[in-house]
Symmetry: D2
Subunit: 427 residues, 4 copies
């Protein structure tokens, strides 16, 4: 299923007048504040968020899963779904694959399918946290950190194979999340686990093409509940230092202990040129994998404030980082959830763009704390939804992607085509 | 020091045109959404936030305190400071006193002083968490829960004395926060501590006038670090049930364990008609006592969403609850901090007023989760700052209280009058 | 498979002398401290811990599951497994079933099977957090709290059916855990969800036999990640108050926010006669469901200190509460894990029995904080492992259950009998 | 006041027989397990814990402080107090000073005073988190990170002065804890704050003698409640890398977010040769500064397990790390609290010494998770109190320091000498 430009324009029609009024009001405000709406729109349009192939089906917890129907049954259908999102919001122009869930048997075919929908291939992801049927050795007690060199070998080879798949698709990035850890004190030597992991990563790193990046992800717990090998940014950073300049840290917003100041971690990693990319989601308790911006929108803005600051101060373009969503859509329609997620990211990015950085730097220099807060909250409280809508509209997308998605009855059509019981490959 | 209407109007003058444009744009939007700006303004103006007398000086931590100068040296100057705030924002029309820090030696004089500034006396607060010079018995090991009946007697009598001070001033509410607890496992019998506390509260309750409310506050830790007698809303609720209908629970936003869903607690307490009032502040880690809305503005909105829902569904007026700020201004000018705090509360309240409750109830009924989120975030993301400014302006206050406060050099004048080393009585 | 007394005795033989020496040393110490080892042993033997039928297979997370082989394929084999545990430790004399995972098609047969192994049926558990194949209505958006009365009806009927199964087996207790909640702010009305849940529970309560108890469990999050209907003990307590005296609160150690003082909750619930039972496990981060006592053994002791205190002060016998394990054995052999869990519970119970309560009460009365700590830690630091071993030995069990389990190659035999790929029914 | 050997021996007398029995029983057990009690005692006696000069008086919170009387009024009396502790436990043979609270006006005199009591000078601590009277510039908005170079200069010079004091006393270690941070988002540039801090530390580092160590401490929050400049071990590690090999990380057990796996941090820092020392305390919620081992004794053991492992594998002696207590004694007699703290540390250390490391390594290699737990808990559950008592006894200390302290009425004598209202210099 594809959405044509005509379909989208037809849905935009009745919303147009009201949008134009809203955008005019906002433009008036922004201009009075010294911002050029056009310039902002151009920056917003550059931000493309990769959709992970595993987020297109209904997610679940250890207690159960409640499928919605019409889920993509194969890689082709996953690309189709990302194409639907991108047609609506013009900001989801990339897909992030997960091996072995999404093995591209015919890479050329897959590439042309994606290209036809305007999609690129972002980071490829390896999987050593599950046992696949017929896999010789088990990852029950770890993969790259395993005490048995044969298991490490298997996990290393898998990662190298994933790089190969990525090369075939035009990806330039390998993303590694390790579930490795322990459930009980004393179960594993921390030092040995680190050293095994490092030496395994070094072998994978050696297989990495020169123009690739290796993303090293950290997570304090789950699925192991006493310790994980890469428990925090410090450990991921240390590994990346030892690996080389192509190794970078991946920040998943849900992978932190309660109350962590994530924006400071982001700033530090950018300062050290070790930030590689993001897994966006939101959470209240742990790795809840909720819709981005649904719980702590101000924190999301603060993170983007650091990102914009870091990119601008280093003269980096927005696409020098890997921007990915990593969420689990347990009770919402996954595609609706992703539309909301991308919009929340765009809003936070746009809010960060209208922080008065010159005034802020001055207030900071004078320790005018109250004024710093005014400047930050002023940007955040500005209602930039019409700006994002205008960016979409100008790029050929929908004024209101969620409305249009519903109006065009996309889910119903997907169910009709794929069946009520279609379940996405993956988790 | 007092701010005249003329001074404030003069400061409004140059901001007026831009404010009117912004308010016109917002009104256009609100009306299109089906809201009457005038009706919203009327509701906003009804919400008066009590300023605690102890928040007018610089706060501190156990590690130190950095005074700003010009702090109020006595109760009269504290009232003067609240008068300044109220003159600017017309939303701080009440003061909450703390005994023995603010003993009104001449109640009639204090009442007329406050009345002249348009201020009422909200909850009076007792203090059994510190030892006062010449106090016969120490609260080192508790007050209302103490193992020694003589200490309990002293603490009970103090609370009854506080009620008397409150009666003299026209207050109708006693607020009790107990630091009582223990630092080490086994230090205290949980059951005995509860029973002592209950029986002490019952004596105080018996001294409460019929038209008074007793607010019972809970807190999980600090200054005791293993356990507190009233550790959570469940314990405060249980005590209030045993005490009677005049006993209500006070919710301090900072008095919760990490990740607590506070808005649900608020909803439950209102459902049971046991919510008495609020101590507003914000926090990232513990009882950080930061400016309201400075860290988690969305959570603040969600709390107000429940408050508005609860008040409307029970046909209660806004002043049926005790609305108080309880924050510690360690690095900001306390008066600036309070201006920011009141504005953040007003914004959250106004956002809650524009939730489309009919549409929300329908979406909830249909479990249309994505749509519920759209409705909630739609209200939150609306920039209502011009509405709050207009509410102030119409009530004779400042378009921008913070600008006006600075322009009129209030702090400088307070320092000139009271001295650079003036330190507020209190903590 | 069954373990004969002879087999166990044979394994005890080589350990006997060393055990007797250790027990003699400990007895000497205990007697010097004023305790009768025999009396302690009698109390320890009274404590029987129910094994949940769902904990006999390998557990998993949303990321995967790594089966061990030989898992029980049906209810009969689950009972067989609990029989193995009980034969070894003589302290696992009860089983807690989960419907529909363990429907007893032939109750008389199941009862006699259990009786032959010395097992009783503890609480029966309903399941409205998953959809079963061919279930008419989905629990995706809740069960007892659902907005649709037909879903609530289905969930109520299921619970009543579970009571019936329990009656057939001789159980006297229904345990209800609700996954009901919401993933996003605004998704659900807190008040409506509570009221629906209450009215559903009232219907189930009405079907409860007079000599039954209904256990209401609370949990702050998971599988819903914004809010749960019964988020904390306060909410469960409120429901149980409204339901009646047969309703009690179930405390699962893993169902608390970070840093919660659980022992105080236990004390409060016992004080109000509303504690119904326990789900024992341990955790470092969330509902990690690790082996009891593996992470925070001192906290476990403190909880038992309150339990012993509460039981003694109310003259209640140990079996007036429902003692259950609820853990997930992801990387250990489930049977080994359960042996360790039961031993940890016994140790904490025994430690609580040797707290010098008279001296503690005196030290508490005098606020002699340091001495209170000495008394508590003195009990906890005492190595009571020989006492537990002796209690087992005298009851016909193994001196060292884990050694004996391994020596008798139980798991290998189970795999031989049931197959390497046998997977327990359940989650 | 000093305690003579005779006094202590006299107090030991009535306890001796029972202690000898207990020690004999334990020795029998330990020898059967393959350990030499004498060798363990020798190792225990090597572990000397530095007492911080600021922990000898009653601590407090922002809400108040309840002095006990007889607190040391000057540096001489602080040394006297540490001498009392060391006489009792023979394990507190060092003191850690805090400048400017404990400026040694006459270094030679102070040194001889300490030497007479068998005390060394451990790390000296700078203080840039408070303003001292007559200090030219304020640290309200930071010290080494301040936006104003003059404030940074002042803070750098202070640290260099502290080094000088330390040299005079024979210390070899500067400990730096920075309160620097921010209370509100946007208040400070993370990157600029880091860079200022680094460059300030570099100047201090340059003034560090060759045989000195600089300890860099991290803390996530308090007294700043949004962000701290050195928020976690990763940031402290990064700074120490940039500074040089004399810079090490200091781990304060209370300076972590909820649920942090501290033992893994310890292992990682030792692996990288960047662990410098410890501030021991215990906590349930935040930086509660409670008695070591009073809340989470198993965690303390796990940390010592890593320390012993790290020291042994690198062939380091126990005194290659700086072992310090940093606690706040709010409700206990500070000296009693310190006696309990040192004992808890010794117990955890001794437990770590009796972990069967060979068996553990094998079980780890085979991923025998249950067995790893048995080995760890086996060591922890062993009651080693008689071993610690014997180590003290052999070194001339008290069998039971707390009993002896009370029997000799130390506090009463200190009050008699110094007065009921004597308050320790410091916080």
């Amino acid at each position: 299923m594809r959405l044509s430009s005509d379909q989208i324009q037809a849905c935009n029609e009745p919303l147009l007048r009201r949008h134009q009024q809203a955008f005019a009001r906002l433009s008036e405000y922004l201009e009075a504040e010294g911002f050029q709406p056009d310039a902002l729109i151009a920056q917003i349009q550059q931000l493309q968020i990769a959709i992970p192939s595993w987020a297109l089906g209904t997610g679940g917890t250890r207690f159960g899963r409640f499928p919605i129907g019409g889920e993509p049954r194969n890689l082709e259908e996953k690309i189709e779904d990302v194409g639907l999102l991108h047609a609506l919001n013009r900001a989801s122009g990339a897909i992030s694959l997960h091996i072995p869930w999404d093995i591209p048997r015919d890479a050329a075919h897959i590439r042309s399918l994606a290209a036809a929908l305007g999609l690129k291939f972002d980071a490829v992801n390896s999987n050593t946290f599950q046992d696949q049927p017929d896999q010789p050795l088990s990852y029950k007690f770890g993969s790259l950190c395993h005490t048995d060199p044969a298991v490490r070998r298997q996990a290393i080879d898998h990662n190298i194979e994933v790089i190969q798949y990525g090369k075939d698709l035009g990806s330039h990035c390998l993303s590694i999340w390790l579930a490795d850890g322990s459930n009980f004190p004393g179960q594993r030597s921390f030092v040995q686990a680190f050293q095994h992991t490092l030496s395994s990563l070094q072998e994978i790193y050696a297989a990495l093409p020169d123009d690739w990046i290796m993303l090293v992800e950290y997570k304090p717990y789950e699925p192991n509940f006493y310790a994980t090998v890469i428990q925090d940014w410090g450990t991921a950073f240390l590994l990346s230092q030892k690996l080389g300049t192509k190794a970078r840290v991946l920040v998943d917003l849900g992978h932190h202990l309660p109350n962590t100041n994530i924006e400071q971690i982001v700033a530090t990693l950018m300062m050290e040129d070790r930030l590689g990319g993001f897994h966006f989601n939101d959470s209240k308790y742990g790795d809840d994998d909720l819709t981005v911006g649904s719980i702590k929108p101000y924190q999301l803005f603060l993170i983007f404030h650091e990102l914009v600051q870091g990119l601008q101060s280093r003269n980096r373009s927005v696409d020098s980082l890997a921007w990915m969503i990593d969420a689990s859509h347990n009770t919402k329609d996954p595609l609706e959830d992703l539309l909301q997620s991308v919009e929340a990211i765009q809003l936070a990015f746009a809010q960060a763009l209208i922080v008065n950085r010159k005034a802020l730097a001055e207030a900071q220099q004078q320790n005018d704390v109250a004024w710093c807060q005014e400047l930050m909250q002023g940007a955040f409280r500005t209602d930039l939804r019409p700006l994002i809508a205008e960016a979409r509209l100008q790029a050929g997308g929908a004024i209101s992607p969620l409305h249009t998605y519903r109006q065009l009855q996309v889910r119903q059509q997907l169910i009709a085509q794929r069946g009520k019981k279609a379940v996405a490959t993956g988790l």
